[in-house]
């Protein structure tokens, strides 16, 4: 405003003194202090918002796995509810609800202006009641207890079970009544879990191996059939070889299956029967119990043990029950693998482009247009990149690769559908403008005197770039790569189109040749958050998992950035000593 005023005053030419006065009087805008306050305030506001968001995520993420007590509630009509108190809210009692309230409690509601409190209990036992949460209004409660013998059971299937241990059978014989506690059954439970791990090993690793070999042999036959025709001698020979091999493999398969079956039969002998609060009983295989404990009786160390155990399970196992339980190891793995792959693509590509633009290209209209285009690329909505990645990379490029290199697997696509490789390429495309702009800035910041010094010593242009310019620009380039990495790790929308899936049971790296399977779909933490938060059957149970996963994604990005920053600082130190 002031500038405009001065301008108009000056242009009208009248009252030169007024301009003079304005410049010297203690005008607020001239002092600049209020402006400083605005800047400071904006910064403070930004900090508060970010800190608030982080605090929300950290708090909710950190408390999720803490074991909560189990309350047994006797209702006024005699029914019993047992569960973890989940949250409480105040609500206005509607006329219908009020009609059912006993007369003595109505007065209390009336004094609260018609409001009452209610608690949401996580009751578990979904397999028995088709319901795992329940609201209990305070006026329906006759008494609340926390009995020590209530057990919280985390199972492989059907979610948590809440009840008392009724009886247990270990190795075909009933366990005496005095040992019917989680602690008393601990040894048997450990043995059952170890056996379960052994069954897993046989079924997944050993039988998996056999299946893998059979599939490979089948594909070999198919490829011979494709190359030399279905009635060629070569095909018949291949077929013969396949069936010979198959017989042996089938034998091994049968042997392994028998072994697994024997273990399973033994496994079925160890069961625990729980009685839930309503009197129904449920027998569970001891090996299908992930963890069970008496939360009302747990000491602080016991709670810490459960808490850490749950974290470890979350970080180190695969998801179960349509991603609502178990761990997220494949998602962590997928996120890290994709981000690293993204850096491998984006770093050389971005740096080379920027080098040419800044060092070699003649600065003219064409280069200006290219530069503007690159900058504008950063503003294209990310989903557009996803569509491009799917249409061009997966369908066109990937489809052609399948036709040429993997005809025996068709119609099942290999590269012709979304996968880790295409996802990383798409995100590389998305983030390359960041690297180009950062690299250009870093190159421009290298003092002209250094280049001239190098050239004057007789070095060629490439030698100058290679030995003088690039090393000095390296910290700046690293900054660009760090930014690109952070953006790529947090991006979800385009990934949904080019390779991220809800369930990818296999990691992109495993023990089978060629060990790194870039064509495989993968899981991603960002997508996992979306999936658990918005797609799972029970959104109530999903909510805490959303916070934990968000916490983990933030931590993962922090760790990756910290690593990159550490490398950058080392580079800086390395060149700090060699100034002219």
């Amino acid at each position: 405003m002031t500038a405009v005023n001065i301008d108009t005053a000056a242009s009208t030419g009248k009252a030169k003194s007024s301009v003079y006065r304005r410049a010297h009087a203690a005008d607020l805008s001239a002092v600049g202090e209020p402006f400083q306050w605005v800047l400071g305030g904006a910064l403070a506001m930004g900090c508060v918002l970010i800190a608030g968001l982080l605090l929300l995520v950290f708090w909710n993420g950190l408390v999720t796995f803490w074991p909560k007590p189990i309350e047994v509630v006797r209702l006024t009509d005699g029914a019993m509810v047992a569960g973890e108190p989940f949250r409480t809210e105040s609500f206005r009692v509607t006329a219908d609800q009020l009609a059912k309230v006993p007369a003595d409690k109505r007065a209390a509601i009336a004094t609260d202006d018609g409001f009452a409190d209610r608690t949401l209990y996580r009751t578990g036992n979904y397999d028995i009641y088709n319901d795992d949460f329940r609201w209990v209004p305070d006026y329906e409660v006759a008494s609340v207890e926390r009995p020590a013998d209530m057990v919280y059971v985390e199972r492989l299937e059907w979610g948590p079970l809440i009840g008392r241990i009724k009886s247990a059978i270990v190795n075909g014989t009933a366990v005496p009544a005095d040992r019917l506690t989680p602690a008393g059954l601990a040894a048997a439970h450990d043995a059952a879990r170890a056996r379960w791990a052994q069954i897993q090993h046989i079924e997944r690793d050993l039988i998996g191996d056999v299946n893998h070999t059979i599939e490979k042999a089948r594909l070999r036959v198919r490829s011979v059939e494709l190359s030399s025709g279905a009635d060629s001698p070569a095909y018949r020979a291949a077929q013969q070889r396949f069936s010979d091999e198959n017989v042996k493999l089938q034998e091994r398969f049968q042997a392994l299956t028998k072994q697994a079956q024997a273990l399973r039969a033994e496994d079925a002998k160890d069961t625990v029967t729980f009685a839930e609060i309503g009197g129904k009983e449920k027998a569970v295989n001891l090996s299908a119990v992930v963890r069970f404990f008496q939360p009302n009786e747990l000491s602080i160390f016991g709670k810490i043990g459960v808490y850490l155990g749950r974290w470890w399970e979350f970080l180190s196992t695969e998801p179960r029950e349509a991603n609502t339980e178990g761990g997220i190891l494949p998602a962590i793995f997928g996120t890290v693998a994709m981000t690293l792959l993204l850096v491998i693509f984006v770093a050389p590509f971005g740096v080379i482009t920027a080098l040419y633009l800044r060092e070699y290209a003649k600065q003219g209209r064409l280069v200006a247009v290219v530069r503007i285009s690159v900058n504008n690329l950063a503003g294209v909505p990310s989903i557009v990149y996803g569509v491009f990645g799917l249409g061009f990379f997966a369908y066109i490029v990937g489809g052609s690769i399948d036709q040429v290199f993997f005809p025996e697997r068709l119609p099942s696509p290999t590269f012709g559908t979304g996968g880790l490789f295409w996802a990383a390429l798409t995100l590389a495309l998305l983030t390359v403008p960041v690297v180009i702009v950062a690299t250009e800035e870093a190159l421009a910041a290298v003092p002209r005197s250094m280049r001239e010094g190098s050239l004057a010593c007789g070095a060629s242009k490439w030698q100058t770039i290679r030995r003088i310019v690039l090393p000095r620009a390296m910290p700046g380039i690293m900054t660009g790569i760090i930014l690109a990495m952070a953006r790529g790790a947090g991006e979800v929308a385009p990934l949904m189109l080019v390779g991220v899936v809800k369930l990818a049971p296999e990691l992109p790296i495993d023990g089978y040749f060629p060990y790194i399977h870039l064509e495989r779909s993968f899981m991603h933490l960002g997508f996992h958050i979306y999936d658990v938060g918005f797609q799972s059957r029970n959104s109530e149970a999903g909510k805490p998992m959303v916070f934990v996963t968000t916490l983990l994604l933030i931590l993962l990005i922090v760790v990756m950035n910290a690593a990159a920053i550490y490398i950058r600082n080392r580079l800086r130190r390395q060149f700090a000593g060699s100034q002219f």
Binding site: N211, A322, Q535, S539
Partner: protein, 325 residues
């Protein structure tokens, strides 16, 4: 409409002699138990409905327990994404929460020369949800139409825009109804439009949500809301309103028995489409997966996900049609 009648009659016929337990939904005991066979491995990919997303994942998990080396990938962004994926061959299974449209079948037939095979994998009741405190007792489909649609093809003469018009008083008196629904890629959107809206158009005020669970979460946090979603997504924060097919008709709860009996007006099958050449045997991995869906274990997963299992009669019909033994 014709389609739906057939569907429900089939369901009603198929449930003959089927006893569902009063509490937890039971699986038809006549369904076969799944017995693993040897040498099954390969890749399976499913692209389609997000209503079926969790169910497909549960089946995949169950199937993987027996065949660890089968790689099953599941993508669920809406029923409309299934037909293109099947035509392009990028997926072997296309789960859909509505039957394929004529144009979609034509596109498939044009490429392959035969129609896609269909698996009726589970029964779903599409429920109309309101906030848990809402005292509403019953809605007729005509009222549902007048609430959600601007065309009112159901025949209600007046638009319904606030709760008083539905006779809900107290806190709800004269409060506008807040509408929640699915986005147009969803089969739930299409089915609700066809059956509850009598093929009319949605009001512009419907807040379109990206997932079935998001609809329920929206209703949970909005006291004056109404929305539709699969019964499986019900939480303790919402209430499923009983529905009647005609104004003044019998109000029917969204339960398994009512869905089987064909009484609940918004019951539907959840389909999985797949590309089966009638002149060639199905490759083993796909055949086994289909058999697994129709087994005791497979149908228990539908209960786990909040849907209703299909009966052995339906299973036999579909398996026979696909020539899978």
């Amino acid at each position: 409409m014709i389609n739906r009648t057939i569907v429900l009659t089939a369901a009603a016929v198929a449930t003959f002699g089927f006893a569902a337990s009063a509490q937890a939904q039971g699986v038809d005991p006549k369904l076969a138990k799944y017995t693993p066979v040897s040498g099954i491995s390969g890749n399976l990919k499913s692209i389609g409905s997000d209503t079926l997303n969790n169910l497909m994942t549960l089946w995949a998990e169950g199937f993987n327990k027996m065949y660890p080396n089968v790689k099953i990938e599941i993508e669920g962004k809406g029923s409309s994404t299934a037909p293109p994926a099947l035509v392009a061959g990028t997926a072997q299974f296309g789960p859909m929460s509505r039957p394929m449209k004529g144009a979609e079948i034509d596109a498939f037939e044009k490429k392959y020369g035969y129609k896609p095979a269909v698996i009726r994998s589970a029964v779903d009741a599409l429920a109309v949800f309101v906030h848990k405190d809402n005292p509403i007792k019953c809605l007729s489909l005509q009222q549902v139409d007048a609430i959600f649609s601007k065309t009112r093809k159901g025949g209600n003469d007046k638009d319904i825009g606030n709760w008083s018009q539905l006779g809900v008083e107290g806190e709800w008196a004269n409060k506008p109804i807040s509408l929640y629904g699915r986005n147009s890629a969803s089969g739930t959107y299409g089915y609700f439009k066809e059956v509850a809206l009598f093929n009319g158009d949605y009001k512009d005020a419907v807040k379109e949500q990206p997932g079935s669970s998001t609809v329920v979460q929206g209703i949970a946090s909005d006291k004056f809301a109404i929305g539709y979603s699969g019964i499986g997504y019900k939480t303790a924060d919402v209430k499923a309103v009983p529905l009647s097919a005609k104004a003044g008709g019998k109000c029917v709860e969204a339960t398994a028995e009512m869905a089987y009996a064909g009484e609940f007006p918004l019951a539907r099958f959840l389909y999985i489409y797949t590309n089966i050449n009638p002149n060639q045997p199905v490759e083993p991995v796909r055949a086994e997966f289909i058999k697994f869906i129709y087994s005791q274990e497979g149908q228990a997963a539908t209960v786990k996900d909040g849907y209703f299992p299909v009966t052995s009669a339906i299973a036999e019909d579909d398996l026979k049609a696909m020539k899978i033994k």
